[in-house]
């Protein structure tokens, strides 16, 4: 499964980066969204994927029955998802405000703060 996922994730990275290189701020933010999803999937995939063995322990037992999926990447990804959501929400509102002020969605029109 992992090779297939790796392929898809590679594609996700590529599309994300391609979108970030566009001039429109909307595409930029979609690129960011794709990128963070791609990174989360990467963590999940690289650690190895397991079918049908969620890291849960049946009631009354001390240890899970048999092998379970690695819970640590799941926790890490969960944290990363929530962080990415916060950051993206911020970015989305930022481009909205930027558009309201600059009156254009073209990044090339937002270069006054550079030299």
């Amino acid at each position: 499964m992992e090779p297939l996922m790796a392929l898809a994730i590679g594609l996700l990275y590529a599309t994300a980066v391609f979108m970030m290189l566009r001039r429109s701020i909307v595409k930029l933010v979609i690129g960011l969204l794709l990128l963070s999803n791609a990174a989360n999937l990467l963590i999940f995939t690289t650690a190895g994927m397991t079918r049908g063995a969620p890291p849960l322990i049946p009631e009354g037992l001390q240890q899970p029955l048999g092998e379970v999926a690695d819970p640590l990447p799941q926790a890490v990804v969960l944290t990363a998802i929530v962080i990415a959501f916060g950051v993206l929400a911020f970015a989305v509102v930022l481009i909205r405000r930027a558009y309201e002020i600059v009156k254009a969605d073209d990044l090339d029109k937002m270069k006054e703060t550079d030299t």
């Binding site: 963070s36 990174a39 690289t46 190895g48 911020f90 405000r97 937002m110 006054e112 703060t113």
Partner: protein, 533 residues
């Protein structure tokens, strides 16, 4: 149980949470801003003193033994950085009282400041690579919010670049963490260091190293990854600029120091040259960028980039002396650069502009401000006996001893160009007479109740400026104790085994770190076990 290692993170988090709860009450927030930051300074001093005597201080958060839980570790470098965070935090807390507008205060300026400090302190103290990512994000999102607070057009434009490029760095960082976990199966930095030493696929190790280098390089604003900094640092309110200038990029530099001395020490052979030239170009492009500017804060922003080059140079040379010099540069720069931004705020308050062309006459009008600027600016340029001189001297000596003559030559030339910009500011803002077309805005010269002119009360702005200028002077005059600390940092960083032992306990081997977990587990909480089925 060493609470001092966790408190510098937890206290500002607490101050931030409380400050947020009091979002309706400005006086309360202002009180917390000072009280919380005083407390932060006190605990960071505590940590510093403790680290000075013990070398390493660790805390296994949640009482989970080392590679499994999250460890907070303070070595000399962390302790110094946290101490500086405390100092800068308090300076900013006081300075902000005078400069922060009512609207900013109402919309969370102070909580954001506290949480930014928490993120910075967390990044300095954590011993876990994913936890480092989390603190980076805390710091980053706080900085996003502070950067956009106020909603000016320039802020928005700057923020888009700042946010995007920093997020790119974050994703690279996160990707690297993911790959690292996939490769090594651990997140604890000391454990990573052990496993990397025996990792068979050196190609992957190298890839991880370069990914961390790029990710932290972006955060640190190293060449050619610094673009976000000059585009945004001059846009927010000046106290925010100062806070960013002092601390944020240094977190990136700190991470480079940490990661490349602790984890990737064996990869340095390949990366050293890349890093060395990166450092040289960072210095040169930054300082040249500053030479092309004619606005107070833009000049200072580009100089941040340039100074980062010095710090990375110290790391790239990779000798104990050079690392000590790099650490000295970090420390000196935090104090001085923050102060220069604070001074630019005062001059702006006095003259209503950041354009050098429109300013002038402050040498005669505000001699003490001139003295503070003079000390800070010439310290930045590395003039003895101020703090910057020692940083430069140590680096030059280390560079010449290591035979890196070209890089050292550039470092010296950059010092001269730094002087160029600083003298430009001095000549224009302080020596030149105030141009006649500068109509100082009416709000700058408030009129009292009886109709007479009142001097604006600036002591809350002057106090931090004065203290920081004095620090720069004292660091230079009493360089010996400071240098001892820096030497200790250099020694600690070049012998990572001390750090690893402090985190994982004595007698560790790569296998030991993986030993069967049940045996390692410490005593269980006493009141917990009996209550449970």
């Amino acid at each position: 149980m060493r609470p001092e290692v966790a408190l510098p993170v937890l206290l500002p988090l607490l101050s931030g949470a409380i400050s947020l709860l009091f979002w309706r009450s400005r006086p309360m927030q202002r009180f917390i801003a000072v009280a919380g930051n005083v407390a932060l300074l006190v605990v960071s001093l505590w940590l510093f003193v403790a680290t000075l005597s013990d070398g390493y201080i660790t805390m296994q958060m949640g009482n989970w033994p080392a590679p499994f839980g999250i460890t907070l570790v303070a070595d000399m470098l962390s302790a110094v950085m946290v101490l500086l965070t405390g100092i800068i935090g308090l300076a900013m807390g006081i300075y902000s009282l005078a400069t922060t507008g009512r609207g900013h205060e109402k919309f969370g300026y102070y909580p954001l400041m506290h949480l930014l400090l928490a993120g910075v302190a967390g990044a300095f103290l954590t011993g876990d690579i994913f936890n480092l990512y989390v603190w980076f994000e805390v710091m980053l999102v706080a900085s996003f919010a502070l950067l956009t607070l106020g909603g000016e057009r320039a802020q928005m434009e700057g923020a888009i670049k700042y946010v995007t490029l920093n997020l790119l760095a974050s994703v690279i960082f996160l990707t690297a963490v993911g790959l690292l976990y996939g490769t090594l199966g651990t997140l604890n930095m000391a454990d990573i260091a052990l496993r990397l030493d025996v990792a068979e696929h050196t190609g992957m190790v190298e890839v991880l190293a370069v990914m961390f280098m790029v990710a932290f390089g972006i955060k640190a604003a190293a060449f050619p990854l610094f673009f976000w900094l000059p585009a945004s640092y001059h846009t927010p309110s000046v106290a925010v600029s100062a806070l960013f200038a002092g601390l944020l990029t240094k977190v990136g530099v700190y991470s480079l120091f940490r990661v490349f001395t602790l984890m990737f020490d064996q990869t340095m052979g390949y990366l050293q040259d890349i890093m060395l030239w990166g450092a040289v170009f960072t210095m040169v492009t930054g300082v040249l960028g500053a030479a092309a500017q004619h606005e107070f804060r833009r000049i200072l922003s580009f100089h941040i980039v340039s100074q980062i080059g010095y710090m990375i140079l110290g790391l790239a040379l990779y000798t104990p002396l050079a690392i000590a010099g790099g650490a000295f540069a970090i420390m000196h720069n935090i104090v001085v650069k923050t102060n220069l931004f604070l001074i630019s705020g005062i001059t702006h308050r006095l003259q209503g502009t950041y354009q050098l062309k429109k300013m002038g006459g402050l040498y005669r009008e505000r001699p003490w401000l001139a003295v503070a600027f003079f000390i800070s600016a010439f310290s930045l340029a590395g003039i003895p006996p101020l703090s910057g001189f020692f940083a430069k001297f140590v680096l030059v000596r280390a560079g010449l001893e290591a035979g890196a003559y070209v890089a050292t030559g550039f470092a010296l030339a950059v010092g001269l160009m730094t002087l160029y910009s600083m003298v430009k500011i001095w000549n224009e803002v302080f020596w030149k007479a105030l141009p006649e077309d500068n109509l100082v805005p009416s709000s700058q010269t408030p009129v009292g109740d009886d109709g007479r002119l009142v001097k604006p009360s600036l002591w809350m702005m002057y106090l931090p400026v004065g203290v920081l200028a004095l620090m720069s002077l004292l660091i230079g005059l009493f360089a010996e104790p400071v240098m001892n600390v820096m030497t200790a940092i250099g020694d600690q960083l070049t012998t990572p085994s001390g750090y690893i032992e402090a985190v994982l306990g004595a007698s560790v081997s790569p296998e030991g770190a993986l030993a069967s977990p049940g045996e390692i587990q410490a005593e269980e909480t006493e009141n917990g076990s009996e209550d449970l089925p």
